[in-house]
């Protein structure tokens, strides 16, 4: 299941809904992305971020997320999967994205969850703008994310 929404989400409630009544799930891997208050690798050297605004492409964003989720389900035997991605303005500490994958075995759940995050980062139409002391700044794509996504190429 995929959802693109402005509102925050409740991780515990979402995970419970994913696994409730199921007895075939051995492992549930989950990733949550949050707004950090600094840019780059290191808080000590990075600029401050006061807020983050996520822009998306209504229609294509949902389509891409559904495609990515279908690809994960084709590659790994998943019992359940979920992608929630927010858009709009968010403050540091707020949740941006959540990906969860449930499977009989933990390796499948972990691998699918990382795959979804890597692909989502490099192919789902979202763009981040940060409010910094120098004004708003569009986040540039990170080549490291391309490298992380490339490891899943078959």
């Amino acid at each position: 299941m995929i959802r693109v929404q402005r509102e925050d989400f409740d991780i515990g409630a979402e995970l419970d809904a994913l696994t409730v009544g199921r007895t075939d799930i051995g492992g549930l891997a989950n990733f949550v992305g949050l707004v950090r208050d600094f840019v780059g690798k290191d808080k000590a050297i990075g600029a401050d971020v006061a807020a983050l605004t996520l822009e998306h492409y209504p229609g294509m964003t949902e389509k891409r997320l559904a495609d990515i989720e279908a690809e994960a389900n084709a590659r790994w035997p998943l019992a359940a999967s979920l992608i929630i991605h927010r858009y709009g303005r968010m403050m540091p500490g707020e949740r941006i994205v959540m990906v969860a994958c449930a499977a009989a075995h933990r390796e499948d759940a972990f691998a699918a969850c990382q795959f979804l995050m890597d692909w989502l980062k490099t192919s789902a139409p979202f763009w981040k703008q940060e409010d910094t002391p120098d004004g708003p700044r569009w986040v540039e794509a990170d080549t490291k994310d391309d490298a992380l996504a490339a490891r899943w190429k078959k």
């Binding site: 992305g33 996520l54 822009e55 998306h56 492409y57 229609g59 294509m60 389509k63 991605h85 941006i96 994205v97 995050m117 989502l120 980062k121 490099t122 192919s123 789902a124 139409p125 979202f126 763009w127 981040k128 703008q129 569009w138 986040v139 540039e140 794509a141 990170d142 994310d145």
Partner: protein, 83 residues
Amino acid sequence: MKLLYFAWLRTRIGRAEETLTPPADVVTVGALLEWLRAQGPGYAEALADLSVVRVAVNQDFAQSGDPVKPGDEVALFPPVTGG
């Protein structure tokens, strides 16, 4: 043809969307970008470096040689940065 612009392509071009009618010989993504670039200084600036411009045709990623035709929804945007 419906054009959509996102992120800094939107701010540089100065609008989020517009409907344009390129000449009949503009039949590929690459030709469309070349034609757009000549439509004014905002377009020229936004499309100066095509290595940081991504294109989707009818909500699917498209490459320079892929076809475009009247009625298509064509979106231009920078490399994505979600997640």
